[in-house]
Symmetry: C2
Subunit: 370 residues, 2 copies
């Protein structure tokens, strides 16, 4: 039997057990009885990975050596993210769904057993840790051939409610320190499954880029009394020439110092720390602007744009007064047939070189006829 | 007429002017009179780019918007890095060469005019700067179809002398703060010219990854009195199971917390700050181990491995007591037909997930029959 929870905006969550002990969560925009059971044979759960410290940068690297064999670009009829409509038993037992969330079958991070703590950082004497955390898969639609830009506003609203629910629930685990919902789209960024979906990584440590953002924002706050990201949004609103879409609650812009061609940040006009903290009005206003942004991205060259779209938010229990929720979309195509690669300067030195002025890419994005 | 300079190991450098005012430097393992003149029509030099601060991370991003039109994977007969042997006038006027170095024709960074200073960092009030620095191209051989692994020991020794000469000379410019010679190899990492060559980026700011390494190494030194990278090499020598090659002066290993499949670090056993500080004996012992490492990399799957190989060294004028010279090779292929991508977790969060244990890839590299 399924456990049913009522969320905002009339969204209903129904939890059902999967054959191997995982849980599948259906998010429906209206009451819908979910009962289909997972009849696949039980599989052994993969072991937990290792956390090793890169001492040169004091950054944790996850060793997930059990993932090599994971599914790689299967044809449509073998897609594990489609609903189960034939003999092929996919990850989703029901024959249709709106949005579903379940643990990744080959997770890089997973729930630890018993007490868990991150090892102390002691240079090359640092112990290895276990790769605690959670890796969830979130399917945006049961339509295999669709994309984010093809979703209806109602579908994005349900997706938003699922994201908010996941952040709320994952935040209750004491071993989770930071949560990042993201979507990789396109073979160019290494997508292994075409079905429209995202992932939610819940880390047991503060990821390096968030740690740096936190450090910079904290220093800015101590110096000026202001929240850095609020200054960033204020500058974009003042300059205006990098804004590509706007409504009552959200603004979308190419940032002043973009690192990727057609990079877009989408931020609420009234700042909040994370997805769970959005007001109902803010959540309701997100579908229109997010669909517009994605349609503009695909419109620039008239081809599906490869991108990484990530929710940046404050960590679960620290620095919540310094960091703000926003959605960063990094696209890697700089022209038809030309990609932006992270080569020597970017990847070895962390020094980004941009071939396209942000004002120019903002203009191209604005010029797209919707 | 060329200007001739004698370097170590019998290498001779001959400088000649190029048509557009740049200088070409020939590095020869024995005296060789270089006189061929560049008869191409004079072209306008591109303008200098802009440095913009990404305020969320306090990192400079180079806006080099004039580079979009650069040459992209030309066929062999139009290769600008081949010597000039026919009607096609390439970047190298002579009909043969050993190693040559010249300024990139579409540089991301270039020499500033007059006094130059990096703007003060003031959050979103930070001024834009001009993209001062140098971007040089270094051709490893005049053999278009070769690769690093195909070079003779004598050729690598000449290349090493050219690298050392460039570091010495670029270090004399007051606007240069950090120098990174690197090689991108393979279309998979965005290579635009197949001819075996590398690049030398000389930055007017400390690149983000070096800044972090410096910060970590400095804190480690203050706490322990030791240099962090020396601890790293000591641990690798002690553990032993990640070492893949070694000689009297150098050791090559897959690092304990590798971020890339088949990542290899090559370090001198007697530590130095930068390429210019290597002893003659160390420089002489580099060709054998570097060629072995590259042959092992190509041998793992029997296909040319795509990689980014970068010299990490101490900055020009700061932190020289904390950072050490070493060569990092990051390969992106994890299996035949499978690449490692920097997707959501890596690129948006800076949190690396590895599919292959370092001890396993070290074993595969050691097992390659040379």
């Amino acid at each position: 039997m399924s456990q049913v929870i009522k969320l905002d905006s009339g969204v209903i969550r129904s939890d059902l057990p999967m054959a191997d002990g995982r849980t599948i969560r259906y998010y429906d925009s209206a009451p819908h009885t979910r009962t289909a059971s997972d009849t696949r044979p039980v599989e052994d759960q993969p072991g937990i990975g290792e956390l090793r410290l890169d001492p040169l940068l004091n950054e944790w690297v996850v060793m997930a050596a059990h993932r090599q064999g994971r599914v790689f670009l299967p044809p449509k009829e073998l897609c594990p993210l489609c609903p189960t409509r034939s003999d092929l038993l996919s990850e989703i037992p029901d024959s249709s769904y709106e949005v579903v969330v379940f643990d990744n079958r080959s997770p890089s991070l997973r729930a630890p057993e018993g007490d868990w703590a991150l090892p102390d950082i002691l240079g090359t004497d640092t112990d290895a840790g276990t790769a605690a955390g959670k890796c969830e898969v979130i399917c945006f639609t049961d339509n295999h051939g669709g994309s984010f830009a093809d979703l209806s506003e109602r579908q994005v609203r349900t997706l938003m409610e699922a994201w908010r629910d996941r952040v709320r629930e994952l935040s209750t685990h004491s071993y989770i320190r930071h949560i990042a919902p993201f979507e990789n789209r396109g073979e160019e960024v290494g997508v292994t499954l075409f079905h429209p979906h995202g992932q939610i990584y819940a880390y047991s440590y503060i990821p390096a880029r968030v740690e740096k953002m936190l450090e910079v924002a904290k220093a800015h706050h101590e110096e000026t009394g202001r929240v850095l990201f609020d200054d960033v949004v204020a500058r974009e609103l003042r300059d205006g020439d990098r804004i590509i879409a706007r409504n009552e609650h959200w603004v979308a812009f190419v940032p002043y110092a973009a690192r990727y061609p057609f990079e877009i940040h989408v931020a609420p006009l009234s700042p909040v720390a994370d997805l769970a903290s959005l007001s109902a009005e803010q959540a309701d206003a997100f579908p229109a602007i997010s669909i517009e942004v994605m349609k503009r991205l695909d419109g620039v060259f008239g081809i599906a744009m490869a991108y990484i779209a990530t929710w940046h938010q404050a960590p679960v229990r620290e620095g919540r007064e310094y960091l703000r929720l926003h959605w960063q979309i990094a696209s890697v195509r700089r022209a038809p047939g030309k990609l932006k690669y992270l080569a020597g300067s970017e990847s070895a030195m962390g020094a980004f070189i941009m071939d396209l002025k942000p004002e120019q890419s903002a203009g191209q994005l604005r010029d797209v006829q919707l």
